[in-house]
Amino acid sequence: MKPTLAGYARASTIAEATAWLAEADGDAKVIAGGQSLMAAINMGLGGDTRLIDINGIEALKGIRLEGDRLVIGALTRHAELGRHPLIAEHAPLLTRAVPLIAHEAIRTRGTIGGSLSHADPAAELPACVLALDALIRISGPGGEREVAADDFFEDVYVTDLAQDEIVTAISLPLAAAKEAQLIRELSRRAGDFALAGIALVRRPSGHRVAFFGTGPRPMLGRSVMAALDAGDLAAALAAVPEDIDPQSDPHASAAYRRHLASVLLRRCLEDLAA
């Protein structure tokens, strides 16, 4: 179908974008890379929406170190994320995740801020920032705030963002020496959304495990993490079902997704042991 829009505006500053969002009072959407939003609009799922284009906002760009944190601008494209040396050094999970995201012609345009804001429960980056214990930086008319990734993702396509807020950056702790960061997923075809996936971080302070494709949002495997911290691998594997909440859909049943999540965890543990 042909996209229909009720209006389009280019914002050049964060303040402008959030002010316009506030003014639109729920009647406008932010477009960044647009790789999910445009597809939805082209499928007639967007209604007669208005778009605020944030691609021109310089403050949303760039990857940099801020003290002991790695800060990724919300407009960072997946392709840039995948090849950036600071990411490879301090958050290799993201470097490994990028090739799993869709296809190159999507990765050149899709952004990390857009992916997190869209909050597809089967997407890689939301699970990665959850596993990395990231803070999501958010701006609104009332100012800036940071929210932990674990509190950011609420439901299918639902986040903690108010309708007049945008994600401006993602702030991550730097990977410690000997920290292990893994991602595994199973998708029917290369680049498809995962039937099930897992992002796992083992750092001195403990394990963080995030499942994706197996619930209404990327889910932290709290029982699994506790068992892993206790060194009980068998208990970790047994705990998978209680940490996730998969639904059946035309692509896979909940039971199959549960099964795959367990298989993936075991394979990650084998990777860690290797």
Partner: protein, 793 residues
Amino acid sequence: MTIDFGNPNRPNSYIGRTVPRPNAPRLVQGRGRYVDDITLPRMLHLAFVRSPWGHAKITAIDTTEAAACDGVRAIFTGQDLLPHCTPWVAVLAHLKGLKSAPQHALALDRTCWVGEPVVAVVADSRAEAEAAAALVNIDYDELPVVTQIRTALDPETPVIHPDLGDNLAFRREHVQGDVEAAFASAHKVISASFKTGRHTGVTLEPRGCLADWNPAEGKLTVWQGTQAPHMIQTVLATHLGLEESRVRVICDDVGGSFGIKVHVYPDEVATAAIAKVLGRPVKFIADRLESFISDIHARDHEIDGRIAVDENGKILAFDIDDWTGIGPYSVYPRTSAIEGNQVVNLCGGPYDFANYRARTSVVLQNKAPTCQYRAVGHPIATAVTEGLVDLAAEALNMDPAEIRRRNFFRDDAYPATSPANMRFEGLSHQATMDKLLEMMDYEALRRDQAAAREKGIWRGIGLASFIELTNPSPFMYGIGGARISAQDGATVRMDPDGSVVVLSGVTEQGQGTEAMLSQVVAEGVGVRPDQVRVITGDTQVTPYGGGTWASRGAGIGGEAALQAALALKGAILEVAGAMLQCAPESLSINDGQIVDLESGAGRMPLSELGRVVYFRGDTLPKGLPRELVQTRHFITMEYPFAFTNGAQASYVEVDRETGFVKLLKHWCVEDCGRVINPQLVDEQIRGGIVQGLGGALYEECLYDEHGQMLNGSMADYLVPMAVEMPDMQIAHVETPTAESLLGAKGAGEAGTAGAPAAVMNAINDAIRPSGGRILQMPMTPERILRAMGTLSD
């Protein structure tokens, strides 16, 4: 005239060689001309409001709001279009008992599937037409839907078309021999139930047409991506009340067909009718979302099968009960009973056995209509046959290759007639299987499989032999009353510069028809292929013909072109003889030159002959024939169909924990008779295999109990992509048909016919240690895991 095909060094030996496709350089430069690339002055665009219900009564249509939208020029309901376009009923006389209901271009008072066109909105742009279409208000009363195949005939199931009496569109049972006795006396009897998923073609270029009515000329011109321009011409003339000669159908580049573009679609007929009403060009291009619910679907079958074998693995009998759901209407004009009929015709095809019973029950349902899609019925019949043969081999503890060898029609047994009454002129199952096993190094592969299994890796080898129906005679459609030509024609002309033009009734869909025609004509006349210009796809210009379907383009269109080319050569030589004052029989044409037949010495370029004929005809003897244009037609007469055969093998690895299948390699040996262009044939096979693998592993139109399609987008209907597909090794055995000089049979569907069976057998071979088996397509990882018993909840 004959051609010494056995001699690769003969002059002008283009038949049998890979020559480049004349249209390919254009396509790689983005200079194709597909329907949507054509823009006409004052052109309008169409968008359809389609039924959101599987079955519903239309109680009111309000177009007021839509009509007020910017850019909207007209809106048509079914009632509005009724005076301009008659309905159709898709039946064929030779499919006895086939029944269907009248179908209109736009639904009149009732919709029967989600996606049926109800209202057409015409606007200055497609975007405006879509925006207005969203504002058309239609009130529906929902009616009960029929979605299940096996219960479609139950008394408590509602009847979709009450006038028909029941939901049974067609049933045919064929019995040969004493089936019950064979099963009663058999050493082993194996029964199994199969399912093939409902597929659709997903041509990358969506369906579309551009219709332009010129009232001054009283003439309708339609640009359409179609496989059968003359058939479309006939149909539009019939239902729009025009003389056939007043309709011109032009088919430029087509972005994939696979059978999807050989049918008559209500939205396309509506487009032509609306163009006629408005007197302006009207374009309709389906978007992908409407393609999924309005393109034909196919292969929605459930089959119960039985095989009886003796102690030596000799097949005693097959017993097949096929059920298929075709949607609410039989599709015009080829009908939706052909696929089930093919299953009856093709099961057991490669094997010489005595007792056969097969029945197909074709039922109506409230889903998108199904019809002929690449390799019509073949993948189903082959999967059922080869699945049962493998199960028999397993029961006998016999190697799958061996049981096939013991049952094939012998290569020296032809002509032969199958238990399904199919007549085979000449096939090569034994040679084909031998070549396949050698090419794949079957024994080494078995050792690799065993070594892998020792390590806990489950690999499997699957074999599938098959027959394929090509080069159809009028027995396919014509005898049933359809105006679908089994004959095809070619006109070959020499122009003053010595170059040659061929106009053919078969069409180019990307398979390489233009290259095939250029090389056949080049050899026939005696010029280089690049001196042959090819014109296809215009009913006003080309000889009348059937077009491209059922693997007939090369075998029938190619033969017509060859005969026309040879006739032109004869005509040229007659003029040359007069000019050179020697017997025409002492001359030939080689590489664009008149030459001495014996010595090969050049006598005169064709351009000189052209100069004299066209500009100095006064110098030629009075009364000398000088017709440098020749037309020939060809139709098969001896056999209803030219059957081909082949064998495929698949090597797979199944992840025991996830059910994921990795396709390690695929092989195919097939026999399409004379191979005209080896590269094009091989690529048809490869593309066909992958299309078959798509159906076997990924593709399925999923519906809920309300008749809603659940996965109607490219994100959800999974087609084969590059990463998961294997490399494929292709080889040939050549058993030319004696019906034509060319000796070519069809090759375009063989890959699709055999691949699903091969990969199904390979997966079952891989998971054999689990004791489970999977006979339902697509074989998704989850279904495989459930078949293995690994997943039970």
